[in-house]
Amino acid sequence: MRDLEESLRDAVLDLADDAPLAYDLAAVARTRGRRIRQRRRAALSAFVVVMVAAVAVPYVALRREPPQRVVEPAPTVTVAPSIVPRALPEFTVKSPYRLPGGATVSMLTLPGADDSKTYVSLDRSTGRYRQLAFAYDPLGMSPDGRLFAGSTGRGKVRIFDADDRTVDTVDVRMRFDFHSKPEWSPDGSRLLLPTEEGFAVYDVATRSHRVFNRPDIRYFCPDLCYFTWLPNGREVAVAHRDEGVRRTEERADVIKSVVVYSADTGVEVRSIPMTGAPVSTDAWSPDGRSVLIQVQQPDFNTSTRIAGTDTGALRGDPITGRAMFLPDGRILTVGNRYAELLTADGVPLEEMKLPSQFDDVIVTVTRS
């Protein structure tokens, strides 16, 4: 006498037993794995996601601590674009490095061998940069540089200070993929954690978190799948792909909208027609009318564009480098060796040459 479940168990075992023999799996996986890495690196350097911008400064130069110089904030108003880019001062670990528009270099990430990373962050209490004792990747740094968040790799997120002292550990089944990273709210009071089933919001003051199960987020997530906070600090946004377009690894997902969720309740608040994903929490203009988005072409090439938050209409030319809206409404881009100030509509105001110390270093810039 056999019942369905017995037959099912046998059938599944038969199928498993009929599997092909493992042959050359490692070699093929290596080849494909390297392609994935290359593609990720290409994508990363193209759209410079997750709050960072690739620029250039050898680590040895930082270790050497170049002669101390007082770094003056650059002029914030320039009427006409400069013909010859103005060279910005050299970096020193002894004072905050200001960029035009009042932005500050808050962290440098120095790539090492074997994907290891070394972080040098600004200690705002002393005004100096210091090397951090940990190497999480990705690493989410709070806007004031006081706290950090990193995934432990088992779904848990550790929150700690610059001296690597644990503040809290949050077990939220954090999503574990290329784009997922902890994202601090603009005022640093909350931390958004992408999870397998939606997202969670951690409150620093109460050391508590809420989990919001939103399976639609993962379902609709495009290749550029990451969260940003809106300037109000109460809402978060993530891009949704066009489900009417067949997915394939051969082409980038087509983004249809950016959906805004309440960080207090997890409820979908509104959907904005959009052809790209907001590049970062700093990508939203102070007045809320514009957002800098990453638009991905079918061949995965990306460009940053300015989009209206009402209809998603694009304006201005594509922007190169990592872009952010400054508090005064202008746009700062930090690219490979150059930084640029733009109007809110993307009209170039001034181009600046970054110090050569920034070669091969990832620079994190915050608005102030």
Partner: protein, 170 residues
Amino acid sequence: MRQSLEDEFTAFVAARGQSLLRIAHALTGDREAAQDLVQGALAKAYAKWPRIHTDAEAYVRKIIYNDRASAWRRPGRQNEVTVAEVPDVATSDHHDQHVADRLTVQRALLSLPARQRAVLVMRYLEDRSVEETAEALGCRPGTVASQASRALVKLRGLVGDRLTSMGGAR
């Protein structure tokens, strides 16, 4: 990647590759698709090996199940056989009848949506608990239970009468 990590990856694939292929074949019912599924998962693992090597098997298995389970929303990747009715299999004696039962169930299993099939493979091949299955598939335990229940109802609808007629009990 550091040589020691490269060696570790090679050793991991050598030790666990066949086991992963068994899971993949149970999920796909197709040798080529199974190999592709495992190679894809291993490639993803290789790409971030320095980060995941301490928990590599769980990571790879999770990718296999999720890549397969998410295939349901990627029409171009579906290889499910849509069957309104599972064909009869000729039988002659008791042993043959069991074999026929298993073939019948196999075909019915492969006709299920990928996510339901993933749940059944985890539960019946790997003997994973509902909670473990939910963890691997990135869903709630309740979802696993309902998917398993629906899958069994569907299987019963496809083969139940036939098994009963062949001497099975329900």
